[in-house]
């Protein structure tokens, strides 16, 4: 074995972690305050909701396989896509990337024992369950069917009165959870970095979580305001958004999108952070342009707060307003582009280990760019006017949310599964999962760009028969995509119980979470975390020396077994 090949902690492999230092399995089902337990609770719970959201998507695509509205009763079709979108956003991606990855990784990456407010952390997680159950309960009374956007007057006049009310209350609960988590992240990242780790020494995932949390903090309360007013209109006879009572539906749209646009950055920024953590160890190269990536996250945060009305280019907005938002929207492409180019430069000249984490990360870059390019097109007011509310938009946001966020989440899962569970995932199944996902996803969503441009609106159960062939292809792609989750689920469940034992640092990565056991002991490290290198020092580290120092550090801190 060459010097560089020596795995970390080889010299401590014989020192067993004492049984009291393992987190017992049943703690994962309790009100645990351990950020690692909470992180896994989030990831598993949100993944379950992901499967539910996916089932709803399958219903939608089954209906759309033929031009007629002949599978579901119309209100149930509308309920299906409404709940699909709502679940995927509020019960899958937002909590998975913030509550899941954020909670698990941030304290470890900054050398802390836990988040600033562990009890608050647990409270935030345990709001997801009632929020989710409340939303699902609406299926029993007829779910909200006005789109995840719930535009009034339709959402006030809807026949699914109870379902809409349940939807509103559920989102308010889930939004509150998001705000509490954001408070925790901001305080933790700002104040709890270990000594020696300045802001520009911390891993980029932490920068991403900081930017994300600022967005969630600032924007989510405005959504609460919108939903409170909507609830009063729906239930109390007010007319904030009802023109027949003197109200204005456009005010809702402004309030709603003031949150919901930043929400998409909440859904992607942590994933950008994940990619910045996955590429360097699997390409054996430092991240290119650390400061540029860090600053671009903050720029996206700032710009992301002033572009919301690009969702309203055909609505009741004056022309000059549309132009202002067009300019701001197009500018967001610049910091995003900086990241993409920096990631490409990170890969360039590397030693790419083409295992599942990197495959999904590269898939992310590839797919997200497509979504980003269609996003730039949508940023132009005249171009958007033709494609607004069509399948072009559906294609765009699925490329950034699935091709982007979900691919990135999978990259993160394959990368950190060994750390979280102490087991390795099976690599062959991972590659099968990747291939099926890539094929199914593109088959389903790429043709939708054409559908929109050619004239197919969104949120419809019936469409012009000229679109039948393309829709069938999309539905077949959706079917493949649905199947693609099976190898992953089998792999994850089997490996969690029976997978090969994972060493502390299977990827030879340099961030702090890899300097402790897999899974980490409850208080993360014995003694202080060993901050010995910068997070992206690939190519300049003497691994043998580093190994030795880590082993010494571990030995000097380990409590003798009793």
């Amino acid at each position: 074995m060459t010097l560089a090949e020596q795995p970390f902690h080889e010299s401590t492999a014989s020192i067993e972690v004492s049984v009291q230092e393992r987190t017992p399995w049943w703690e994962y089902f309790t009100f645990s305050r351990d950020h690692k337990v909470i992180g896994i609770q989030y990831l598993v719970t949100t993944f379950a909701f992901y499967l539910l959201g996916g089932a709803l998507a399958s219903l939608v695509r089954a209906e759309l396989a033929t031009p007629d509205s002949d599978l579901l009763p119309p209100e149930w079709y509308n309920g299906s896509f409404t709940m699909h979108g709502t679940i995927m956003i509020f019960l899958w991606i937002v909590p998975a990337v913030t509550g899941g990855f954020g909670n698990y990784l941030v304290p470890l990456m900054i050398g802390a024992r836990d988040m600033a407010f562990p009890t608050l952390n647990a409270i935030a997680f345990w709001m997801i369950i009632p929020g989710g159950l409340l939303l699902i309960s609406s299926f029993f009374v007829g779910p909200a069917s006005t789109g995840w956007t719930a535009y009034p007057p339709l959402s006030i006049l809807t026949e699914q009165h109870a379902g809409q009310a349940l939807w509103i209350f559920s989102i308010i609960i889930l939004g509150t959870s998001s705000i509490l988590a954001a408070v925790n992240f901001i305080v933790t990242i700002w104040s709890m970095r270990m000594k020696g780790m300045g802001l520009f020494d911390m891993p980029l995932f932490c920068w991403a979580m900081l930017a994300t949390s600022v967005l969630a903090l600032v924007a989510t309360p405005v959504l609460a305001g919108a939903l409170i007013l909507l609830a009063f209109d729906l239930l109390a006879g007010t007319s904030f958004f009802n023109p027949t009572g003197g109200g204005n539906p456009i005010v809702y749209q402004h309030l709603f999108w003031f949150y919901s646009h930043p929400a998409v950055y909440v859904m992607i920024l942590p994933v950008f952070g994940i990619i910045s953590e996955v590429l360097p160890p699997h390409a054996r190269k430092p991240i290119f342009g650390y400061k540029a990536i860090a600053y671009s996250s903050m720029m996206i945060c700032a710009l992301g707060l002033v572009v919301w009305a690009h969702h309203m280019f055909t609505s009741g907005t004056p022309d000059w307003l549309r132009v202002f938002f067009m300019i701001a929207t197009l500018l967001v492409a610049v910091p995003t582009g900086i990241k993409i180019f920096s990631w490409l430069a990170t890969l360039w000249g590397g030693k790419l280990r083409l295992a599942s984490p990197l495959l999904f990360a590269i898939g992310f870059i590839s797919m997200f760019v497509v979504g980003g390019l269609s996003g730039v097109m949508l940023g132009s007011v005249p171009i958007d006017i033709h494609v607004h509310d069509t399948y072009f938009v559906v294609a765009h946001f699925h490329y950034v949310l699935f091709g982007g966020s979900v691919f990135g989440i999978y990259a993160g899962i394959y990368h950190w599964f060994p750390k979280m569970t102490g087991r390795m995932l099976n690599e062959t199944w991972g590659k099968i999962h990747f291939a099926l996902t890539l094929i199914g996803f593109n088959l389903c969503f790429f043709p939708m760009h054409i559908l929109g441009l050619q004239g197919m609106p969104r949120r419809v159960a019936q469409y012009d028969p000229q679109f039948a062939e393309i829709n069938l292809i999309c539905s077949i792609g959706a079917f493949i995509l649905a199947l693609s989750t099976i190898p992953f689920i089998i792999n994850a469940v089997y490996s969690w119980f029976n997978g090969a034992k994972a060493p502390s640092n299977p990827w030879k990565a340099l961030t702090l979470e890899w300097t402790t056991d897999s899974p980490p002991i409850p208080h993360n490290w014995h003694g202080e975390p060993p901050l010995l290198v910068h997070p992206y020092d690939y190519g300049t580290v003497d691994y043998e020396k580093l190994n030795q120092l880590l082993a010494d550090h571990e030995a000097s801190n380990l409590v003798p077994n009793h």
Binding site: Y151, T158, N248, M326, H386, G455
Partner: protein
């Protein structure tokens, strides 16, 4: 950079640019252009899609190239070359996208102001005539043009049909317009939000209960085109569509006269859908065949 590499890069960039230009002219993604606005739109779209295609080729090309060229070889456990900054490169890939997006913004602004009429973007005009609309809502632009060259039609969206009101109290479920004339549509909604969209015109505008909106266009091609509702309006949103018929001035007048005769002969309202409940309405709508349009 080595001379050989520089040459390869230049050739590659040249290929990318050529491919993008070609694609911009041959994408075939849009339906037929039936108005002056659509022609303007298509030029903008072609330019933007060409740029997008070029960027797409560059990024995907780099990724695929990297997958092969930089793949870790068996037994090679060393790290890669640790470069992590290149100020010149970073400035280039910040500056070029900024220039591109600003160019797209300017070009779009130009196309948009032409589409909306020159005073649509005069803030002063708006603040003076419509102070309340500055913040929110109404897009009441110029008043209906009373010149003889403009055809004014008012459009109502309702669950789940479009109603078109012509001069002399003519009402129809179809939109007829004469070719090569300025058409001004006053849009409104009766119940919930709808959106008036004709793909072949590339124009769309939400219809908002309580807030009138408008669309202006100049149809240039005789034919029949779909009018599609593009804002979720309830259970039968997908079925809410009708036809726009662009015809010669003579045919248009003929149609108007026919409608007038029918209206005079039969005084009952032309379209009674507004009074029907959802289920009653559907009983009539369910089995209507879809129009097949290109």
């Amino acid at each position: 950079m080595k001379r050989q590499t520089l040459l390869s890069v230049i050739i590659l960039i040249g290929l990318v640019i050529s491919a993008s230009i070609w694609y911009g002219q041959n994408h075939g993604l849009l339906p037929i252009a039936a108005s002056e606005e659509a022609v303007l739109y298509d030029k903008l779209f072609s330019a933007v899609i060409a740029i997008a295609f070029g960027l797409f080729l560059i990024v995907q090309g780099t990724l695929i190239f990297s997958l092969f060229r930089f793949r870790k070889r068996q037994g090679d456990e060393a790290d890669g070359i640790p470069f992590h900054d290149n100020i010149r490169l970073e400035m280039i890939w910040t500056a070029i996208p900024t220039v591109i997006v600003l160019w797209v913004a300017l070009y779009s602004f130009d196309v948009y102001s032409t589409m909306r009429g020159t005073d649509a973007l005069m803030i002063a005009h708006h603040m003076h005539h419509h102070p309340k609309s500055v913040l929110v809502a109404q897009t009441e632009g110029p008043l209906p043009d009373v010149s003889s060259d403009t055809v004014n039609i008012s459009v109502q969206g309702m669950q789940f049909a479009w109603i078109f009101n012509y001069p002399n109290d003519i009402t129809s479920g179809e939109l007829h317009v004469p070719v090569n004339k300025h058409i001004h549509l006053d849009l409104s909604a009766v119940d919930v939000l709808h959106a008036f969209w004709v793909p072949q015109l590339r124009l769309k505008q939400d219809t908002i209960p309580g807030s009138p909106t408008h669309l202006d266009f100049y149809p240039t091609r005789i034919g029949e085109y779909p009018v599609v509702c593009a804002e979720l309006c309830g259970s039968y949103h997908g079925g809410m569509r009708t036809t726009m018929i662009v015809e010669s001035e003579a045919d248009y007048q003929k149609w108007l006269n026919e409608q007038m005769e029918v209206a005079q002969a039969d005084h009952s309202p032309k379209v009674a859908t507004a009074k029907m409940s959802e289920s009653e309405y559907l009983a009539g709508k369910l089995n209507q065949p879809m129009h097949h349009h290109h």
